[in-house]
Amino acid sequence: MTAEALRHARYVVTENPVTLVAFTLFTLLVTAALFGPLLVPYDPLATNTLVALQPPSWDHWFGTDHLGRDVFSRVVVAARLDLAIAVSAVALSFVVGSVIGSIAGYYGGWADRIISRLVDTVMAFPLFVLAMGIVAAMGNTVENVVYATAIINLPFYARMARAEVNVRRNAGWVAAARLSGNSGARVLACHLFPNVLPPMMVQVSLNLGWAILNAAGLSFIGLGVTPPTPEWGIMVAEGANYIVSGQWWLALFPGLALMLAVFTFNLMGDGLRDLIDPQRRT
């Protein structure tokens, strides 16, 4: 299994070098998130009005902002917070969503009807708008941004798990597992779920990008993270005021960082999809 999987992985990477790029970028992101504060040349919070609004230079690679803070340091340090929000939100919605979705898909009946109705209700809202409402109602904190992002992500996992379990529910090997003496819950947990996991992992990767965008969008309009904490969405929002006067670097670099992160997760999702099932590549 492992030897073959490795062979297949090598094949996918050589066939599609973009996947290799994605995994490299991913490593870069994770490094910034884990060791960011140790790597940067300046304190991301240290203001120095003497050097405010300086364009990129050898001293300040990404320039400085209106308070003279080093944009490069802030962009790198912000990776931790942005990734943490996205990862915890996606993890939360993945766990809850896949469990309730699998139950709905396997047992059908009332469980399915109630769960589907709940999911449909969440989906009836424009999701970003719902997230705004939730954060506004629950209070303007980072944890609530995580919960809101998790809630609006939940339907995707629940629906996907439900559909994936549902198509396999009547497969011969599920009947065989029951004949072998597995109870319903055991069939679901030990036989069906491991088969549903690979397509769900693809969804996780694609969703991480989306979750980052959502969280950044929320902080862009002033929800969740508050200044002066370095965070990409807020940095773009702060830089927005300087765009019309030509100080592009304030908004560009955090924006690029955001883009790169989302791009990486999307590419990785596509790469994972190839790894799992070359047929479904679109």
Binding site: F128, M132, G133, A136, G233, G239, V244, N266, T282
Partner: protein, 339 residues
């Protein structure tokens, strides 16, 4: 006839969704941490006015009772007062809605007009430059934070090139809004025969609409391409080819109508995202729509306004989903059996 009944039934099926939406928006206000009455009364309120608000909102009663009152208010179109503007929330939303709709629909239209042909071309010519272009747009498009796209369109077309007017609102201050008919400045200006105002409104609309279009383009093109690829490899397209039908007809009567079904579903999702993205774009371009209204309300904890905004957006989305469902019923004869 049978189809009409089906369409009516679709309306019926939207009812539970409506109930769900109303329950959630109701619960959102009651989920406020601490004292909801204090939030509703605003930051500057004293203990007495908070108590007044509590009684006024019925917050001293039981939850089902409160819900009943909320329903009654909704039925009368009463969404409460906005403390930031002092106007009824409903009035605020209705006056600002056309601005948001004009922006969103224009963005969606641009996206559809570009995405469908692009996706179809990419699917019919796999491996060609169109296909690669489509892949590039799709991958780049989904990665672009929409507020970032908007800002850099402003930087390029306003600051560097000077082609676009300053990104502030729907109309340059030297122009008067056209007489109100639809609320869409471009259409109203045309109706009034005022070409200059039309051009000015269009110039203001161009960048924000383009920003939304870039955002909506990627998922639509991606789904069009995937769905066309799948249909083109289906058995019935093979039959059409085996019968010597010309490629144009194979595409227009066999492949595309079948590919359209998943595209319609995606269109619903895209509209949902657009309504959210709209808020961000309105902030970037100082567009006086309901998104800007909601952001202002959020900043000052004007809760009735936020609640009204969430409700209005959800209703809009339900309406669009209904339209898509009905389109589905018209295109796909099989829907009737599954309903």
């Amino acid at each position: 006839m049978a189809r009409l009944i089906m369409i009516l039934r679709r309306f019926g099926q939207a009812l539970p969704t409506l109930v769900g939406i109303i329950v959630v928006t109701f619960l959102l206000t009651r989920a406020l941490p601490g004292d909801p009455a204090a939030y509703f009364a605003g930051a500057a309120a004293d203990a007495e006015s908070i108590e007044e608000v509590r009684v006024m909102l019925g917050l001293d009663r039981s939850l089902p009772e409160q819900f009943w009152i909320y329903l009654g208010d909704l039925a009368q179109g009463d969404l409460g007062m906005s403390i930031s503007t002092g106007q009824p929330v409903l009035t605020e939303i209705l006056t600002r809605l056309p601005a948001s709709l004009e922006l969103t629909l224009t963005g969606l239209l641009i996206a559809v007009v570009i995405a469908l042909p692009l996706g179809i071309l990419a699917a019919t010519r796999p491996g060609s430059w169109v296909d690669h272009l489509c892949r590039l747009i799709v991958t780049a498009g989904v990665s672009l934070p929409i507020f970032f796209t908007g800002l850099f369109l402003v930087y390029i077309f306003y600051y560097l090139a000077g082609w676009a007017p300053s990104p502030l609102g729907r109309l340059d201050i030297f122009f008067l809004p056209p007489p109100h008919v639809t609320g869409f400045y471009t259409i109203d200006a045309l109706l009034a025969g005022d070409v200059e105002t039309f051009q000015a409104a269009l110039a203001q609309l161009a960048l924000p609409a383009l920003t939304l279009a870039i955002f909506a383009l990627a998922p639509l093109a991606r789904m069009t391409r995937a769905s066309m690829l799948q249909v083109l490899s289906s058995d019935f397209v093979r039959t059409a080819r085996a019968n010597g039908l010309p490629p144009g007809q194979v595409l227009s009567t066999y492949a595309f109508p079948n590919a359209l079904l998943p595209i319609l579903t995606t269109l619903g999702m895209v509209f949902s995202f657009l309504l959210g993205a709209n808020v961000l774009v309105e902030k970037v371009f100082a567009w006086p729509g309901i998104g800007s209204f909601a952001i202002e309300a959020l900043i000052v904890s004007d809760y009735a306004a936020v609640q009204g905004f969430v409700l209005a957006m959800a209703l809009l989305f339900v309406g669009l989903n209904l339209a898509i469902d009905i389109a589905y019923t018209v295109i796909d004869p099989r829907v009737s059996l599954d309903a």
